[in-house]
Amino acid sequence: MNKDMEARRQELLNQGYEEVYTRTKVLTDAVMHYCPGCGHGTTHRLIAEVIDEMGIQDNVVGVSPVGCSVLAYNYFDVDFQEAAHGRAPAVATAIKRLNPDTFVFTYQGDGDLAAIGTAETIHAANRGENMTMIFVNNGIYGMTGGQMAPTTLVGMRSATTPYGRRVDLNGYPLRMTELLSTLPGTYYVTRQSVQNPAAVRKAKAAIRKAFENQKLKKGLSFVEILSNCNSGWKMTPVAANKWMEDNMMPNYPIGDIKVDGKICEGIDANRLVLDHPLTVMQ
């Protein structure tokens, strides 16, 4: 807050207003380089708020990926380590094993986590590493100019699928989160999103649970966040959020998949074995 804003804040507090929301101090003052309206910013905010509310700012280490969020360490006022592309879960494993009572989390995009880093992701989950992984799925390689990712939808246009992703040529969208839920090493697996206030509140509760779980030492907590890449999708942020609801959500259903080490009721086996009930975009 600058001087004028601080003065206005004091004025409101003196008039009997209570502060309902203000930017957490666990975020640094640095302006995030993300495009206007990008879900990475919202997701950063939620993680920082959880760290703040849990009072663990001095005992948390984040690991940032390669992708648009490569500079995440500039935005969190906590210890951070940058990993090579896709290797965040391996780096985080080492940090957590050497510091078992420190809260450790990775922050990765879909290209990082579900393409080049697939092996690290699956093995960290299968080993049941007692840490938190945050997976921001925007269905595209945002940073490098919007190329197809494993998560790109069937029919979705990207720089490398200009006529839309084709199953015969490009295979199926990879549901990493469902896949990981089938591994015994995962303790909590959920998919959330951050495009409206209700979704944001749920996503924050999920992130909180994923961090709290580290105290139990029972395995990996994995939170996928569906997010827009409005630049890569070539839409305004508001249109991108709507597009995400209409197109991403039918293919990547929102909600808990596995809680306290058990697959949730109502989660259908077909979804877990990656049968192909994927909608084709128009």
Partner: protein, 72 residues
């Protein structure tokens, strides 16, 4: 019980993305015609009907909105 709300927007750090505009139940927020130092059409409040629900702050990727409320 009714609440009266107020928001403080850090206009210099607003990126004018507009995602806070449609989520306000009271239609308090609009993008301004003016731009800030970075060239973004920052948001401003256009009426006095804020109820302090913090919906706008929840969705702001850059965390530039602070929200205040009191009972009336």
């Amino acid at each position: 019980m009714a609440f009266k709300g107020q928001i403080i927007i850090d206009t210099e750090h607003c990126k004018g993305c507009g995602v806070c505009v449609p989520v306000c139940p009271m239609k308090c927020i609009e993008l301004s015609k003016e731009v800030n130092g970075k060239g973004y059409n920052f948001t401003h409040t256009v009426n006095d009907s804020c109820i302090g629900c913090a919906s706008c702050a929840m969705v702001c990727p850059d965390g530039v909105i602070s929200v205040y409320k009191k009972k009336i």
